[in-house]
């Protein structure tokens, strides 16, 4: 059973190949995708359990020993993220089968969707920097297909922006790998972690670090490089936007965390850059969100804003800041996925996502509104809900560091999130809505069959439940984040697990 680590990965690959055999049978694909999603959650749950109990797991692919072969490593951070990916993946499988129209599903939506999940799982598990690049390629290729599927004009326009910026990011990432390989002669991350600190040429190491920062920065949509995200995330179907918003930018954050806690350490200059970027990301995301009129655009800007929290944690670099960062990452994946599904639900009820025309939701659907209230409250971080606890850690860390700029930015970001969400709540749920003209060929939520309604609501309820657990079971989550933070601070465990003969 030593191969346990690869099972979530191999299973997603198996699922996408298996789904391709059912190319034309959409109903069969829906069932396979959902059942497969449950199995994937189980497999990643087993992986998480094993890592939690018996420490970091490694597999040397094709039996080539590290540092020459490709190593797959599951430390607690990776295992947690793989588990979250499969949970979000299951929810979006459900939501896709209910909400995506058959015309899109007929062109291989589900196989490509599982390829995307494969890429995400692979990126979280790999221990080799070039292999990480390959997983990023798998992610962006499948996301290009998902974002253009359907071929509406707005979609293609969004996709072109998304495509250009992400290809650019990949090229910069590849250049960074080339520089790093020229310096160190190795691609294994654990091996790099031992070689890089001993190198004489510090300037070039710094250049490589900045290249990684720019490459991953574009992908995770931090301050000067975020404009592709709000330009593209509101165009695809809301199921696609959910998985993009929940996980794609977080892969960039994960890569930043991995690279800057394992390879490039103790670089004061870099930490300052990260902190400046974090502050500006928080400001620009929050202010951008303030002026938007489309529900999904509001959420897109909030993604950017909240990336800032994680980068701030990374920039401060203390154990408690890391714990806050990881906790925020866990909370954010669940909440952002859910929010985009909520926006899809609003769209199905009203036929529009424009705040000006929305209204009356609480009056007509009180129970549904309360359900949608949960992710919104979690996002703001009203005390018992999940967004509150990581901010406690982050604020404590900034007070310990006496870094009042970060402290101010975190409070500003949280406050603006509160204002934006309250306004959204008032406009979408409480305001007296305008009478909208009914669209002819549009399946309204009210007209759906009971089974379809349940399919729509199950994923939202499921992720709301996970969010509630993260909030109310914050003790467990804090324990988990503390353990991940201690692993990130002390990278010898990681190196020892990959290259045992190291000391």
């Amino acid at each position: 059973m030593q191969q346990l680590l690869l099972y979530p990965l191999l299973f997603q690959l198996f699922l996408s190949i298996f789904l391709m055999f059912f190319w034309k049978k959409i109903d069969a694909q829906k069932i396979i995708s959902i059942v497969g999603g449950f199995i994937a959650v189980f497999l990643s749950g087993v992986l998480f359990y094993t890592v939690w109990n018996s420490g970091i797991q490694t597999v040397q692919a094709a039996s080539w020993e590290a540092p020459y072969g490709i190593t797959f490593v599951a430390d607690t951070l990776s295992a947690t993220l793989v588990l979250l990916t499969s949970i979000a993946g299951l929810a979006v499988s459900f939501f896709s089968s209910a909400s995506v129209i058959p015309a899109r599903l007929r062109f291989g939506y589900f196989p490509i969707y599982h390829f995307l999940l494969l890429g995400l799982t692979g990126a979280f598990l790999t221990g080799d920097i070039f292999n990480l690049y390959v997983w990023f390629e798998i992610i962006i290729i499948s996301s290009f297909v998902l974002i253009t599927l359907g071929g509406e004009k707005a979609q293609i326009e969004g996709a072109v922006k998304y495509f250009t910026l992400n290809i650019l990011a990949s090229i910069i990432f590849l250049t960074a790998i080339a520089v790093l390989y020229g310096l160190a002669g190795s691609l294994n991350m654990a091996d790099l972690a031992t070689i890089i600190p001993q190198l004489e040429n510090r300037k070039l190491v710094e250049v490589a670090a900045i290249l990684f920062l720019v490459g991953f920065g574009i992908k995770s949509a931090v301050f000067p490089l975020y404009f592709w995200l709000p330009a593209s995330y509101h165009t695809p179907p809301s199921a696609v936007a959910a998985i993009f918003g929940g996980l794609l930018t977080k892969v960039g954050v994960y890569a930043l965390i991995r690279v800057f806690t394992l390879i490039f350490l103790e670089d004061v200059f870099l930490d300052q850059i990260l902190i400046v970027i974090a502050v500006l990301t928080l400001f620009s995301g929050a202010i951008g969100s303030l002026v938007q009129k489309n529900v999904r655009k509001i959420f897109s800007y909030l993604i950017i804003c909240h990336i800032g929290f994680m980068i701030a944690g990374l920039g401060m670099g203390t154990e408690i800041a890391f714990a806050g960062m990881v906790f925020y990452l866990i909370h954010d994946i669940m909440v952002k996925t859910n929010l985009f599904m909520v926006s899809g639900l609003i769209y199905r009820i009203k036929g529009t996502n424009n705040v000006r025309f929305l209204g009356d939701l609480y009056d007509k659907f009180p129970k549904l509104s309360l359900l949608m209230f949960i992710p919104l409250l979690s996002l703001i971080g009203v005390p018992p809900f999940s967004g509150f606890w990581p901010k406690v850690s982050l604020i404590t860390a900034s007070l310990n560091e006496k870094n009042y700029i970060i402290l101010g930015a975190i409070i500003f970001g949280s406050l603006l999130t509160l204002i934006i969400i309250t306004r959204l709540w008032a406009n979408v749920f409480w305001k007296k809505g305008k009478e909208l003209t009914k669209r002819d060929h549009f399946l309204y939520f009210q007209k759906m069959t009971k089974a379809k309604k349940i399919q729509f609501l199950v994923p939202i309820i499921m992720l709301a439940g996970v969010s509630l657990y993260i909030g109310f079971g914050a003790e467990h989550m804090q324990q988990l984040s503390n353990r991940i933070a201690s692993e990130l601070i002390d990278n010898t465990q990681y190196i020892e697990a990959v290259i045992p003969q190291n000391n």
Partner: protein, 137 residues
């Protein structure tokens, strides 16, 4: 292009090119070649046939849509990688080799089946792309 020369030649070139593609595929383990190049050559054979005889005839020759080759090839490659995990508890993609050589072919290993999978996928992808483009043009 309805010239007699091309049509006659393509009838003979199709089997020869397919044979060459299999030769390149098998050669690829130690020497230049392999599944990718082999698959390209094999699809060139069909594209040439389509040039000379028209797309309809080539489709009739193939009997099924080339798109179906993609999942088949992926499955072959995937199984060759997964076999060591399931059967022998070795890491993913570990090469397994037969003890005794088979005449003509030599020793067989999982790497060969991985390459065969690539060969099939490449054919499926190229033919699907080219058929779709020439249909819409």
């Amino acid at each position: 292009m309805k010239t007699l020369i091309l049509r006659t030649a393509s009838n003979y070139l199709l089997p020869i090119l397919l044979l060459i593609s299999i030769f390149i595929l098998l050669r690829g383990h130690y020497l230049p070649g392999g599944g990718f190049v082999g698959g390209l050559i094999a699809s060139i054979a069909f594209v040439l046939h389509a040039f000379a005889n028209g797309l309809k005839n080539t489709k009739r020759l193939l009997k099924f849509h080339p798109g179906y080759l993609m999942p088949v090839g992926l499955a072959v490659s995937f199984l060759s990688g997964v076999l060591p995990v399931i059967g022998f508890d070795e890491p993913f993609m570990t090469g397994l080799w037969m003890h005794d050589a088979i005449p003509v072919l030599g020793k067989l290993g999982t790497a060969l089946f991985f390459d065969i999978g690539v060969y099939i996928v490449v054919q499926g992808v190229t033919l699907t792309i080219i058929f779709t483009i020439s249909e819409s043009a």
